[in-house]
Subunit: 421 residues, 2 copies
């Protein structure tokens, strides 16, 4: 299948009708058509794939039958959206996405509710973040609500792909790439926006008492003040691939990114640490959104649950006498090591869309540079790793119950109750 990305797909004929007045920005005229769900066309795959077995699912490996696609040109604005069979993109080799990486993505999941309706989890937060990310790399703007309507339609069409097992879901990957076919180093005024889906199992089942090991990394740095760490940009990830191999060679599953010795993020997840006070209360700490940290949807949801009054309504799995003090503040490796030495570091856990909540089992750190396999790494071994009574366990249980629609909570679950054309 060949797809022309040089302009609108003309699924409904050319020329486009006079556009309604729209306020677009990022250096583009305000009169161009925005995303218009009413112009959606659906081209169904002639043959549908067999569904993979739930226990064979590997994250992001198997795409579903269809994808959502539209593109933007400075002459025509956003093309009529199209749901069409999953298939390759056909792009000029000079396209910006290959050379300068103005590429944005999002990650969210669809779950099957008890009523059989697909549900999304706080998808507006993803859409708003995607608009902010697009602006950060000067890509064309778009209407976040319109994109969400289209994603709901795609998910509804692909509902048979949503695994029913607890902790399983259909991963949704909205992607926006610059497609300006020229080598000049400047903003891309052409873009393609597409959404692909992939069924996924649980990252690691928390009930198994498993977690992940982290290698704290300071000689390579993920993000910095004035950089792009606070946005969901593809370009934040490739710089970590080599360090990830270093971590694996040393026996760690994920990286814990530092800035100096300040904790930033773990792999592609936000980090929380739980300290015990002398009076038995718990300090729950996560790094603040200072521009170097991704403002994760799961992070925001965890903070919201932790600050709910009464706490037992938000997290009924916790012991009733638990007292929490939650703070967004700087967290350092020295602080973690000191607390581990004093026996007051109870838990460290990571949160994100893929894993939901996953405890850290141990954290390695080379205090001085290094990164080579022969440098000495000191380990923190965590005393509480998920399981009953842990904060990580209580949060995972609660979030999954909300995500899968067994519990309604503050409108976080959003049903895909749209008609499939």
């Amino acid at each position: 299948m060949t797809i022309d990305t040089a302009g609108p797909l003309n699924a409904n004929g050319v020329p486009l009708p006079p556009p309604e007045a729209q306020v677009l920005k990022n250096g583009l005229p305000s009169t161009l058509p925005d995303i218009d769900p009413s112009r959606l066309t659906i081209i169904r795959a002639a043959v549908l794939k067999f569904l993979p077995e739930a226990n064979t699912l590997v994250f992001g490996e198997v795409p579903t039958d269809h994808m959502l696609y539209m593109d933007f040109s400075p002459d025509h604005g956003w093309s009529p959206p199209q749901i069409r069979p999953y298939g390759p993109l056909n792009l000029d080799p000079a396209s910006s996405c290959f050379h300068y990486c103005p590429n944005v993505f999002e990650g969210l999941k669809a779950y099957l509710g008890p009523d059989g309706t697909p549900r999304l989890f706080r998808p507006q937060l993803n859409m708003e973040r995607m608009v902010r990310s697009a602006e950060r790399v000067a890509l064309p703007p778009f209407n976040a609500d319109a994109l969400l309507i289209l994603i709901k339609r795609l998910v509804a069409l692909e509902a048979r792909w949503i695994p029913r097992a607890r902790g399983c879901s259909l991963y949704i990957r909205p992607t926006l790439i610059g497609t300006r076919p020229s080598l000049g180093v400047s903003a891309s005024r052409h873009a393609a926006l597409y959404v692909i889906l992939s069924p996924t199992g649980p990252y690691i089942r928390d009930k198994d008492g498993k977690g992940i090991s982290l290698l704290a990394m300071s000689d390579q740095v993920r993000a910095w003040p004035g950089g792009t760490g606070g946005f969901k940009l593809g370009l934040n990830y490739a710089p970590g691939f080599a360090a990830q191999r270093t971590a694996a060679a040393l026996g760690y599953q994920q990286l814990l990114w530092l800035l100096g010795e300040t904790v930033a993020e773990a792999g592609a997840m936000n980090v929380f640490a739980v300290f015990e006070r002398t009076d038995g209360a718990l300090d729950v700490v996560t790094p603040p959104l200072d521009g170097t940290i991704l403002p994760g949807v799961t992070r925001a949801s965890v903070l919201s649950l932790l600050s709910h009054t009464p706490l037992t309504a938000a997290l009924p799995q916790l012991p009733t006498d638990v007292r929490l003090h939650t703070a967004e503040r700087t967290l350092t490796m020295s602080e973690l090591f000191a607390a581990a030495g004093a026996g007051t570091l109870r838990e460290v856990f990571c949160v994100g869309t893929a894993a939901v909540v996953i405890p850290a089992t141990r954290i390695g750190w080379q205090r001085r540079g290094g990164g080579s396999a022969d440098a000495e790494v000191q380990d923190i071994v965590l005393p509480v790793v998920g399981g009953e009574g842990s904060l990580a366990h209580a949060l995972w249980e609660r979030l999954v119950d909300i995500q899968e629609g067994r519990i309604e909570w503050e409108g976080w679950g959003v049903p895909c109750d749209v008609a499939v054309a």
Copy 2:
């Protein structure tokens, strides 16, 4: 045209013959075939394009008739290389290049020598940097010499596209992108390597006494210690697009990236400043390669010319009594402003493959954050802007003479004296 990038192109049939033992790295087996120029196939375009007029050339807008293409899979190694008609890439929408940006590029130029032979300028430096960049984002390794042989063949085939006018050239863009078709956040073990060409005019003619204005930017930061600023990665560029629009809105042509108030790079070029001592000698200063600065080929060549003994042999356009003290050291905005105030800042110029050497006319700086259009910007206006007697002018003249083959200098000019199959 549809191109399968899922594996080798099988131009000579499958399966591939048993590979010779090769030492590959970046986490891949050492027995996979490397790039093999002897297996090149050439598919000529049926119809050749009309050449554009030299005075209409816009950088990177017009591709030539052919491109070089090969790809890598962890099963088959590097495919037989292919020169084929310029045309789109056909890529899975889950490919790493769109989502995580493990994308590397290079920029070099081909010039027509007086004997009519196409010439490259120190291309080994580009090839070696490309290998280092690939390793930084964990892409498959490749033989730099083999790639250079293939680039020479492509340039020789496309020699009619090299503009003959002084300062004009054929821009060469080798590109290496991750093509792993999976959403898991990890290194791409699949890649596509291609080379495209575009004829280009002079960036700005120095003889016109023109230069560029720079806006110093500290609230957004291009690179950081432990980041990727020292590598030629696409992901270093998109973060600057929005700031570039800010600069344009304020009337500046390019950005001057800072780290705090330390000078880093200008746009996509390295920076030099020239200070006058009380005894009339000149201090020529450029920031050191501390990992945040791109190790530019033009930068290295300028430093080499400046440190040559005798200087007049390297830069005959300079007045014979000029005395230079060249240093790679930290350069701050306060130092530039102080020297401008004292009348000792003579020149600031930028160097890079696209512009060769281009003087700065003025430098704006908002001392405190900002970046918005209404913040106050203080300007340095440079007293010497190119023209006879300036260092920028002497360097531009000399480098272009070497590049275009009118002068042989230390083997920097490399002829494309290869047979086109």
